[in-house]
Symmetry: C2
Subunit: 498 residues, 2 copies
């Protein structure tokens, strides 16, 4: 077994080289490639992804995984056992996918992405519809080829994104969250308090926003020696290599706050990446953090930290020093402005309170689509109906509606993790507040202590535990929206004075 | 043969995918990779370069090249014949290099680059010396393995960079150039005319320089739809793919002119790349332009265009509008300032006149090194002596001397092409001026007509002709410094009033 494990890790080291190269190419594709070279570069990405697929699905590696799994009791290091289990499970998911099918899938997803861009630009769902249908169908084909398929089709997709969190967990979770959010939104609607918002769209030159973004990332503990900040159309964070976690953003001259919170959010993902355990990396278990865990951290920095009274107090002097455009705004006005609650059309611009409803709409629609309860033609109408029902807003066109997010051009299952993430972090900050003086550390800007706590508690086992095990270990409890609803009610009571 | 040619081109198409990917990775390495990830990314580049090497030196491709070359009279398309000849020749150069030796070479060059950086930073040649010795030795090992080795060792290296231009051509060329330049420099030294230079180091924020750089590139005809402009330590242009020729620059707040001419120079390379013939690309002959040809074009845009009276007249209004820091400078003062002649230490910052002497020093030193006439320990002293003898300047430390250029960390042969390029373009603008009203087009900013002439005459056959054939076709003459010396004398007579 010793030799087989050694050989297995040699192949993983080779795969890591391809992943590193693909990470660089993907980053280039999203940040700098000129329009005229986009298609060619997309082809290169597909080609090398397929080379990676072939290497990771060779007969040799399949044999090794099977052997190692059957003899895992003979492996001494528990991290190696974990590694073998992870690969065995993934292998059962994909072993029947041929390289040809893999390439076909890549092509469908690339085409869907490109048609989604066109449709969004033209505000016309019909330009995306056929590609969308292909995505829906090919994802089903791939799931049906799994050896370890779960009974309910949608559960497979949920499990891919947030291992073990299935419909039977999420249905009651989202129901409770929905009721709580609607109740809170009604309280806020009835509040008489008026938040000043006349300054929100003042123009600010981009070079000032660049300087401020860098300040925020450094303040929060992001290490620029192992990362970079650059621009893109739709911000993301890229885990390119062990010492290379890059943040991207999009500057708008007239939306300075949008960039600030996007940078803090993506910076949160990157801080998580920069603080994973070296042991996990050395054992090749460095890709197992779920989306929900990741969003819990990014939204911890964005909301619990970034939109807190203490953090606004901390950054306010630098804020008005950098942006003299805002020098007439008081600290309290800034704090309230970053916490305006208002039902709206766009998920990524939604506030902390209404955000959950955007996710619930997507969760309910994904269920309908995966259960074949809705025809692809009827998806925009259903979208618009749910936005009216849950958020009370009318959708004027598809770009502001069903086409707003990129996610569905590569399939289903991701959205729930955003809402799950919000609830995880509300659960673990309760413990954090008991163990360290979080609020006063925040006000002082002592991110060394805060990030140390995050590293030692939140980050430490994220690669090796399932979400259910992880949140239990971390908080003693199972996933629930209660702490999150309590956190929101406390915070917004003060802001909206109800 | 038809089928063999087809199969050969299939392999070339595959190699092109690797080159595209390597282009992206190399660009990333030079523009954005964080310091903490530099070594890992260097390893990835070496790994995929080596994969490319293996693919391009497989038994199959070797067999195909041999077969096709022996039967080239049966190939109908002359561009295909050319392609086979190019590959046959390169194959004779590298067929005896094993993948292991290729990887060893990559590692030596990577280490040399990294030690060069450290040595330059520390101003200490001794930190580079051992790596430099390794480079000198391994380059000789590789040349000795060639089947088509040229008798004089240095000729092989010159031939790699500027095919067919050997010592027997370059010795008289450089001698004539040296005499002419020293004569002109003496005239300028004796001139009583004083050029205003108090404003040269005024501070200008980088965002203004960014805007102006974009304006210049667009003005000169660079197509941003098939390229990009970004920053790096040592500016370069990257030919990543057919529709992806990227320009890089380095902004200094107190050296606004340095960025302007660097951008025009690199933009010139990129305009050349963007205007190669589609036929050459389709036949996979798109990598055959020599360094001398390329430098002739980049320095055409930088000097003949960029430092001309007409171009300064054209950009002056935008210049003072963008940089209000310079609003007290007249058009004539700006024109004179960009043409100050002054012997100095750094090649890349040298003026048009003294530049050639920097190259001649390097050429003479490369000859000594390649002929084993100098020990690696004695190189800095010789460098300093030649700078004193030819340029009259004392070298205070190695960073401002022998360590200033990156080139020697990857071997010898490149420098002469810079000087050759200057002389090529002085030769072909004589013809251009006969065929189109170059000076008045320039003053009007009509780059459409200028670039069309360049495309139809200078660019068109650059991939398929040797430099000697190309300059003969283009000008009816052979390489000579006469036109260049005449151009310089005319121009600087006006500026320095001698």
């Amino acid at each position: 077994m010793e030799n087989k494990l050694k050989r297995f890790k040699e192949i993983l080291a080779l795969l890591r080289k391809y992943e590193h190269a693909l990470g660089i190419m993907y980053f280039d594709f999203e940040t700098i490639v000129p329009n005229g070279a986009r298609d060619d570069e997309g082809d290169i990405l597909d080609f090398f992804s397929n080379e990676h697929f072939k290497l990771s699905h060779s007969d040799e590696i399949k044999g090794l995984i099977q052997d190692l799994y059957q003899n895992k009791d003979k492996i001494s290091d528990p991290l190696d056992v974990k590694l073998v289990e992870i690969w065995y499970e993934n292998y059962a998911k994909t072993k029947n996918i041929t390289p040809e099918l893999d390439l076909k899938m890549s092509n469908i997803y690339s085409r869907a992405y490109s048609n989604w861009l066109k449709a969004k630009e033209a505000k016309d769902y019909s330009l995306f519809k056929d590609s969308f249908k292909e995505v829906i169908d090919i994802q089903r084909v791939a799931v049906n080829l799994r050896e370890n398929k779960l009974e309910k089709y949608y559960d497979n997709l949920l499990d891919d994104c947030e291992k073990g969190m299935l419909q039977e967990d999420l249905d009651p979770f989202f129901n409770e969250l929905k009721v709580g959010l609607i109740e809170l939104i009604n309280k806020i609607k009835n509040s008489k308090h008026v938040i000043r918002r006349d300054f929100l769209n003042r123009n600010v030159p981009i070079y000032k926003q660049e300087a401020f973004s860098k300040y925020l990332l450094e303040l929060n503990g992001y290490d620029f020696n192992r990362g970079a900040l650059t621009t893109t159309e739709h911000p993301f964070t890229s885990d390119i290599a062990k010492n290379d976690a890059r943040v991207t953003t999009h500057y708008h001259e007239d939306m300075v706050l949008s960039n600030i919170f996007s940078v803090i959010h993506e910076g949160g993902h990157a801080i998580f990446m920069q603080n994973e355990r070296d042991e996990d990396y050395d054992h090749f278990i460095n890709d197992e953090i779920t989306n929900g865990m990741h969003e819990s951290v990014s939204r911890f920095y964005e909301n619990i930290v970034g939109r807190s009274k203490e953090y606004i107090h901390l950054i306010y002097p630098k804020f008005i020093e950098t942006f003299d455009e805002f020098k007439d705004i008081s600290e309290r006005e800034l704090y309230e402005a970053v916490n305006i609650v208002k039902p709206s059309l766009i998920r990524t611009e939604a506030d902390e309170v209404t955000y959950g409803l955007h996710i619930i709409i997507r969760y309910e629609m994904e269920k309908m689509i995966c259960n074949n309860e809705i025809n692809v033609n009827d998806i925009p109408a259903m979208w618009n109906k749910l936005y009216k029902d849950y958020l009370g807003v009318g959708v004027p066109n598809d770009s502001l509606g069903v086409l707003q997010d990129v996610h569905w051009s590569s399939g289903f299952g991701y959205f729930p993790s955003y809402a799950i993430g919000n609830c995880y972090n509300a659960m673990y900050i309760k413990r954090m507040e008991k163990e360290i003086p979080f609020r006063s550390l925040l006000e002082k800007g002592d991110f060394t202590t805060i990030n140390k706590w995050m590293k030692e508690n939140v980050f430490i086992h994220a690669n090796v535990l399932t979400p259910k095990e992880w949140i239990k270990e971390l908080t003693g409890e199972s996933l629930s929206p209660k702490a999150f609803l309590k956190y929101l009610n406390n915070k917004y009571k003060d802001i909206y004075q109800f």
